[in-house]
Symmetry: D2
Subunit: 351 residues, 4 copies
Amino acid sequence: MTKTLRVGILGATGMVGQRFVELLENHPQFQITALAASDRSQGKTFAEACTWRLAGAMPESVKTLAVQAPEPTLDCDLVFSSLPGDIARRTEGDFAAAGYPVISNSSAFRMDHDVPLLIPEINPEHLALIDAQKKSSNGQHGFIVTNPNCSTIMLALALAPLHQKFGIESVIATTMQALSGAGYPGVASLAISDNVLPFIESEEEKIEQETLKILGKLNGETIDDAQMRVSAQCHRVNVSDGHLAAVRVKLKGPAKIDEVKQAFSSFSALPQELKLHSAPEQVIIVREEKDRPQPRLDRDAGNGMSITIGRLQPDNVLDYRFVVLSHNTIRGAAGAAILNAELMLAMGNLK
Amino acid sequence: MTKTLRVGILGATGMVGQRFVELLENHPQFQITALAASDRSQGKTFAEACTWRLAGAMPESVKTLAVQAPEPTLDCDLVFSSLPGDIARRTEGDFAAAGYPVISNSSAFRMDHDVPLLIPEINPEHLALIDAQKKSSNGQHGFIVTNPNCSTIMLALALAPLHQKFGIESVIATTMQALSGAGYPGVASLAISDNVLPFIESEEEKIEQETLKILGKLNGETIDDAQMRVSAQCHRVNVSDGHLAAVRVKLKGPAKIDEVKQAFSSFSALPQELKLHSAPEQVIIVREEKDRPQPRLDRDAGNGMSITIGRLQPDNVLDYRFVVLSHNTIRGAAGAAILNAELMLAMGNLK
Amino acid sequence: MTKTLRVGILGATGMVGQRFVELLENHPQFQITALAASDRSQGKTFAEACTWRLAGAMPESVKTLAVQAPEPTLDCDLVFSSLPGDIARRTEGDFAAAGYPVISNSSAFRMDHDVPLLIPEINPEHLALIDAQKKSSNGQHGFIVTNPNCSTIMLALALAPLHQKFGIESVIATTMQALSGAGYPGVASLAISDNVLPFIESEEEKIEQETLKILGKLNGETIDDAQMRVSAQCHRVNVSDGHLAAVRVKLKGPAKIDEVKQAFSSFSALPQELKLHSAPEQVIIVREEKDRPQPRLDRDAGNGMSITIGRLQPDNVLDYRFVVLSHNTIRGAAGAAILNAELMLAMGNLK
Amino acid sequence: MTKTLRVGILGATGMVGQRFVELLENHPQFQITALAASDRSQGKTFAEACTWRLAGAMPESVKTLAVQAPEPTLDCDLVFSSLPGDIARRTEGDFAAAGYPVISNSSAFRMDHDVPLLIPEINPEHLALIDAQKKSSNGQHGFIVTNPNCSTIMLALALAPLHQKFGIESVIATTMQALSGAGYPGVASLAISDNVLPFIESEEEKIEQETLKILGKLNGETIDDAQMRVSAQCHRVNVSDGHLAAVRVKLKGPAKIDEVKQAFSSFSALPQELKLHSAPEQVIIVREEKDRPQPRLDRDAGNGMSITIGRLQPDNVLDYRFVVLSHNTIRGAAGAAILNAELMLAMGNLK
């Protein structure tokens, strides 16, 4: 039996914050009791402060909640954070220091040696780093758990079964990323109209570094990076939601194409076993059609929590190539953090 | 002094056909005297038969020309062809058999062993294959010269200076291609709205094969393919004109990043030396800004005949990576064929 | 208690056909037992014949149904038709002649004097025309009921409460219509990229004529057109789903703005009273925000069956102006026909 | 013979400011000698301060000019202003008080009784208001001349010939406006992706009021508004450049459709007679095709200074309807101001 935890959302008025609100509506284990934002919306109700930008209407249950300052006096058992990078480091640190579990979508703490960079299907054992955090802060009871960058989650989920079965020597990923990844207002319409932007600030570095930590091995109180080379080129395209990546991979051992396909489609892990609320039944959906995955048609697969792979083929330079897609603000952000919290609740890290 | 040749256009009502008409308006060496199309437009004037889809108005000089059947009775000295692949093989062959020089943008004959796959800046010596063609057809005076696929031209132009200076071992290209590459009506608006399509029929194969021939060496009456491995993944994005490719390259010898940049920006060849009418002064424009090239801002560089390269960086898996862009219906199609004809006129292949 | 009727879909592979399939999945009263299409898909299963273009996956229940020719030998109790106009007249006539009730979204029979042009919230009494149809065809048991054009339904629903309460003298509507209204492939992406098209074939005439019949009065075995003047200018914009219209209206009698607003928001009719399965609770949603309705945010209101009105203001030339939006392939097409059938079942016209 | 005047640009780094720079490059009468901006770019060169967002490259001639504060110490004979509304009133007033002629695209002074709201083809006689300005400010030698809102210019140019020939009783305009009208960054890409926005701040009011002043009569030192009723509904659509309006008009006297068409296409005025540099030969281009004008195809007509009208038809409610298009940042903004200055130079208002 699961108890209901009271949660606060830091950065509640932003694009990812709104996804948190949407996905937590009617969640069986978490109930929103506090909303915070760093902008000038404090003191208003959420209905007044937040221009709702998702399809459908703002959930009734949050409309009259007051928007508070993102300071560690919120009335809740844990916080989800989607604060912008520049203020996340200080604010999330304050919340942890004050005893809150912080489940963060921000990049601020991802690469800290004692902070789990968690994808429940891949590295649930990394939660052991929480003990290291607690140890290093005598008397502190809070801690921080992060989820990776939106593109990295998708890539890591695609690589995980290959890494486990065959080993990976190198990966080349070229992304075509959606507008919602930049938040709101984000990309100017005049910048992307009839255009592609071949640059996203810090994105290539995040993919190249975070992937190694996610696929790395827990070694006592730290993570040993996975031994592989990762190359990322990132682009912004005129799509609202749904990141796409064209991927080539060189494996350590031999693998037939059917074995690769089978590794993808049979991939299932602890969240599926535990039947976590947000865990998709099918982690990786393999499409056989020659023109899939496509953002508009496939981003909502598994309620936005599955990733979709298609166009698996032998490659002339590395071993195999394929295209992978996921919903960048669900599996790639708010949904990722919520699944992290569900796992932590199941594993006893939250109470 | 150059004489004016009378040219016919096969496939004149299509997107590339219209570019031929636009680019040949006021050309100093070529004058359009015949227009042909395979659709139901025969017997009408061009103004009646062709819905003009380029910005600006249809040139006055072609409005009253009759649209004829694509049969080798056209009143002209040579033909430019942008016929669809399925009928190009027979029709272009008929024209060549009837004595016409055929300068083709179609894929039908590109990989024939005695047909030049010509980019004037890269392989002008491949024009020697024309003699092989003539020899094999006793009494035939016509011949066929082709230009590569739109994405391949851009990629080959980017690779040529590296191939010449350092040698290339392998290339990985991921394209984001414009709608005009699919002709008209081409891609349905509902298919591309808020979307990316990860598949373009035969495109990956064309890039992987044509590149080797273009960069190959003339060996008597045939071409020895370049020895390198090429991998292409192709995507359609919601952009009207301008193909983009994210490229990684592994060189045969060592090269510093400044040497690579210098190889790009100093690249100049026979068309520039001969000051051919359509040859851009700067073949490769290297942009230093972190967010260039972009289709909307850079596609018209050098009147659509320059390619633009940016984001040159060391790569974690191969040696270097960069992004390249060109105008797919100018440098990648009609402009390519016209530059081919200009070179051939200068070299004495047309008279 | 309702019985389950077996339904066939004519034009099942098109955009509206797919909406029929999607909306009838799990419908409590109708079960799809036959699928027909006029293209070359006959003889294949639906999964083979139909490229599914809606978000989500094709329902399992129809995948193995054979696609049949649209001929009146289908095994079903009634047919829904979204055949293209040119073949709809003959085919729907054949089905009616063979005894089938035909619930049609096509334009072919809409303006026939004995065919109901039905919007259940507005003119349920027009169903009496079915008797006229039956009378005129001795021994024929089938009949045809149509729903209006997608833009007309939206406009008529907005006008109905004003017509009933205040009388309407004239209406000026300027539409901005979505791509899905043109079917698939419909509008070429190159035609609409960075563009607006100020023309949709026959659309202005349909709106101007159909509106008068819908709001007209049953007079024995025919309909007397409503006495008002309607002006429509129609445009295609780069939106996937959701038609928008800017409307001015001149009323016959005086009405305060709050009375107009109240007339909209309180509008409720027979389908709401009967609690028909597809009837939205709120027929007209009035938004107070200054920048609503918007296609992407409001098209799915009421499961796509509500219309949304905003920006109600006094007008300098006519009396009032407002903006109205609805989902063009749900309330404007497939959902409209299904609601028609639900009403007919409730009223005893289907059995 | 014309002398060359030295001009400053206020708001030089914005979208309209960049158009000023582009259009004044190589202008025969005006030379840019000063650039000013209100943002944090002061002290940098224009090349450093301004991210060039138009196609093509920033003109060489302005790259090394220093960006200055918008204060009346600029070294120039007159200023063009595209300052944002909130600071325009004070800053433009300061420049006028300091003796500069101010040719403004801002809305700040448009409706002031002694400020010309000038469209050279329509109301050149309104320049007489300059004397009223000078009189009211003893010892002040500067003055302000404004051009209308981007949508209003297009509408007024379409109405002018009808107003002059037949008289206008009422006008109903529904606009579909381009993104560049909102400046940069302007509309967020997520806001307009797959969407239409039915609201543009203050736009409907501007069209409804400015039109009356433009078409009004000079009466001594003020303008008597034209006697007609104007209704505007404004929408933002996903188009980069080119505003479109669907217009209905009720005339005061009878006019056959051919007379209306003739009035449009024969419209020519003082700027054409004087052969002003930026004046288009054809003020109004009438297109006969059923699907024109279109933003992407027609916005650049007459170098962006012609307007294009199509779909002229009788209307069911008012007398006639048509669709009109113009380039919103050329004829609708920077080009409008430059044409104003050219007229003023020709008329002796600038020296």
